[in-house]
Symmetry: C2
Subunit: 343 residues, 2 copies
C-alpha cells in the first residue's frame, strides 16, 4: 500500500508567468479511503489555459485553488482501490485528480472509461472538456452556416483544432491563426483548414485579410491581443464571437497603455451588429449527450483528427504549463504521470 | 400649388456637436410628381440619436446623407396630392419625409395611419421605430425573465421609456438611469420603474449599486460612457446587453486617453459569461407584426404610457437635435413642422 504522494502545490499566487517557486513539488501522506471513495493512480494530467485563472486571487467563474493545496486539474487514471460502488480495482476513469500521483475521488467527479472505444487520453481532449468546449461554443454561440468564414485562434491547440474541424463539417471556410509555421501547416494538412496565418509574421494583418476575402462571420476567440484586434477589422455584419479564452492576457499584471480602445470597440459592435459572448463549457452541460454522440460518430467515421503533446513526468508539469501559456505545445498538452497500460 | 420647400441641408460633416452652419435652412423648388409618387406635407419630424451617424462620413449600417441634400428622417404628414394608388389627398401617412416642409414619397417608405386608432405622432414614437427598437432589443437579445433586474439608460427617452415598461410587464425589477432629477421622477411615477438613478450625481455608482441589490441581469445600453462603466461592475453571471446606442460618444472626435480598458472588459465578459450584441431595429423586421399587435393591446389596456417633447418649427430643428444629444429633451423628441389637424 502506498502511503505517500507527490503533489504540485500552489504555494503563492503567481505574478505574471507562474514559476517553480509558485508551484513546488512536495511529498504528502495519502488520506485513508472513506466509504464512497476510491483511490486512483493518475496516468494523464490535462494542462489547460483556464488553470492560470485558478492560480489567481481574482474572482472568476470557479473558485481559486487554496494556497498550500495541490493544483487541481482533470486526469485520467486507473483505480488502485475502491470503496465506491460500481468502480473496481483496475478500472480506467476520468476524474478531477489534480497535479499529483494519486487522488482520492468520489462519484461526483468520476466517469468510467472503456479503453476499447477510444484511447483513454482522449477523455481529456477531443472527447473531453476541450472538445466539448469547441462543440458548444461554435455551435451554440457561433451558429455556423454553410459558406460562412470561421476564424479560430490557437488553431492547433486542444480546442482550436476541434473548432476548425467541426466548422469544416458544417460547410464553412475555416481560417486558423497560430504562432508557428509548423502549427499552421499542421492544421491545414491534418485537419483540413482552408488556410492558417502566423500571427508572428510582420504582415499578419494583410495575410489574415487575404485569407478571409469575404470577411469574418465567426471568430472563435482563444487568445486576445493583436489577433483579436486584427479580426475586429474584418468582421462582417452580424458576426458572432464565442469568447472562450484570452491566453495572451492571463499573465497580464496591469492594463495596457492607452488610448482606450473600448469605446471604438463598442461602436464597432453596434455598427456591425456583432454578438460577443463569454462562455465556459459547464454552461452547456445539457448538450453533453449530443456532444458525445456526435463526436464519437465523427471520430469513428474518421472525420475528426487530433494531436496530443505528451510530456513525461509530474516533475515537468510546471515547465510544460509555462510552455502552454507561451504556445510551445503542439496539440492537446498532457503530462504522463505514470505509464499508460493500454498502449 | 406650392412650388417651394424649406429644407434643412447637410452642408458639412459636423466635427463634434452639429451646428447651424453644418445644417442650414434653405429654400428649394419642389420636383414634379411622377406616377407612383405622392406629395406629403410633413406635420411631425422625428429627431433620433441615430441621425448623428447619418451626418458623418464614417461607414455605418446606413449610408450617410449626401452633402448638399436634405437631412433624412421619419415624418408623419398629410397627403397633398397623389399619383400613388391607394393614397388620396387628405390621408395621414408615416413616411421618411426628412427635415423639410414637403416630401415626395413612393410606396417603399409609406404607411397609412388611422387617426382614430392612436394619435398620429405615436407612429414616430411608442408605436413606431423607437418603440419597436425597445421591443426587439429587450425581448430578443435581453430575454427578460421574471424577477431579473433590468437597467436601462436614457430611461426617459423614446426608447428607454418603452424598454422599462415592457420589462415591468415581464415581471422584472426595472432601474432607470437618466441625467436629471425630473427625468428620474417621471420614469418612476409615470412608467412604474422601481428606481431611477441620476448619472450626474457624485455618488452615482453607489446609488446604482443600491438600486440593484441583486446585481444586473440585463442592461439596455443607449448611452455609453460612465453609465456603461458603472453597470459593468454590477453585471451578474449570464447578463445580456442589448447594445442599442452610444449617445455619449456620437460627438467624440478621438479615442479617450488610456489606460486601455478593452482587455479588462473582455476578461469580464469571459468570467461572467456576458452576452453583448449590437443591433438596429431593421434586423428584427420579422417581429414587426408581433410588435404592432402587442403594443397596440398594451396601449389599449393602459399598460404603456408615453411622453412626447414637441418643438415647434422646422427652423428650430437643429437646436432641438443639439438638445437631444445633450439630453435636454423630455421624452420622445418631435419637431412640429406644420399644424396637426387631428388635435
Amino acid at each position: 500500500m502506498m502511503t505517500s504522494n507527490r503533489q504540485i502545490i500552489l504555494a503563492n499566487h503567481p505574478v505574471g508567468m507562474p514559476t517553480a517557486e509558485d508551484l513546488p513539488l512536495q511529498e504528502s501522506a495519502l488520506p485513508e479511503l472513506q466509504d464512497g471513495q476510491l483511490l486512483m493512480k493518475n496516468i494523464y494530467l490535462s494542462l489547460d489555459p483556464y488553470m492560470r485563472g485558478r492560480m489567481s486571487k481574482a474572482k472568476s467563474y470557479a473558485a481559486g485553488v487554496p494556497l498550500g493545496t495541490a493544483m487541481q486539474g482533470g486526469t485520467v487514471g486507473q483505480v488502485v482501490s475502491s470503496k465506491l460502488d460500481g468502480f473496481a480495482e483496475g478500472d480506467f476513469v476520468l476524474g478531477f485528480g489534480g497535479w499529483q500521483d494519486y487522488a482520492v475521488q468520489d462519484k461526483t467527479t468520476l466517469r468510467k472509461l472503456d479503453p476499447s472505444q477510444a484511447p483513454i487520453s482522449t477523455a481529456l481532449g477531443v472527447l473531453g472538456m476541450p472538445g466539448f468546449t469547441a462543440y458548444a461554443g461554435l455551435l451554440e454561440i457561433g451558429q455556423p452556416k454553410e459558406g460562412e468564414t470561421v476564424v479560430v485562434s490557437a488553431a492547433s491547440g486542444a480546442v482550436g483544432q476541434v473548432v476548425g474541424q467541426i466548422a469544416k463539417l458544417k460547410g464553412c471556410r475555416v481560417v486558423g491563426v497560430a504562432g508557428a509555421e509548423d502549427k499552421c501547416r499542421h492544421v491545414v494538412e491534418a485537419y483540413g483548414f482552408d488556410a492558417c496565418v502566423n500571427y508572428k509574421d510582420d504582415d499578419f494583418e494583410t495575410r489574415l485579410a487575404e485569407a478571409c476575402p469575404n470577411g469574418i462571420d465567426i471568430y472563435f476567440e482563444n487568445v486576445g491581443g493583436k489577433v483579436f484586434d486584427a479580426v475586429m477589422k474584418l468582421v462582417n455584419d452580424f458576426a458572432r464571437i464565442p469568447l472562450c479564452g484570452r491566453i495572451a492576457h492571463y499573465n497580464d499584471t496591469e492594463a495596457p497603455q492607452g488610448p482606450d480602445q473600448l469605446s471604438a470597440f463598442l461602436t464597432k459592435l453596434l455598427v456591425k451588429r456583432v454578438l460577443i459572448k463569454g462562455f465556459i463549457q459547464f454552461d452547456y452541460a445539457h448538450l453533453m449527450k449530443d456532444f458525445v454522440k456526435d463526436m464519437s460518430s465523427w471520430m469513428q467515421a474518421g472525420k475528426i483528427q487530433y494531436q496530443e503533446d505528451v510530456v513525461d513526468g509530474l516533475e515537468n508539469a510546471v515547465e510544460a504549463f509555462q510552455g502552454l501559456l507561451e504556445g510551445r505545445n503542439r496539440g492537446k498538452l498532457l503530462v504522463r504521470i505514470s505509464e499508460d497500460p493500454t498502449r
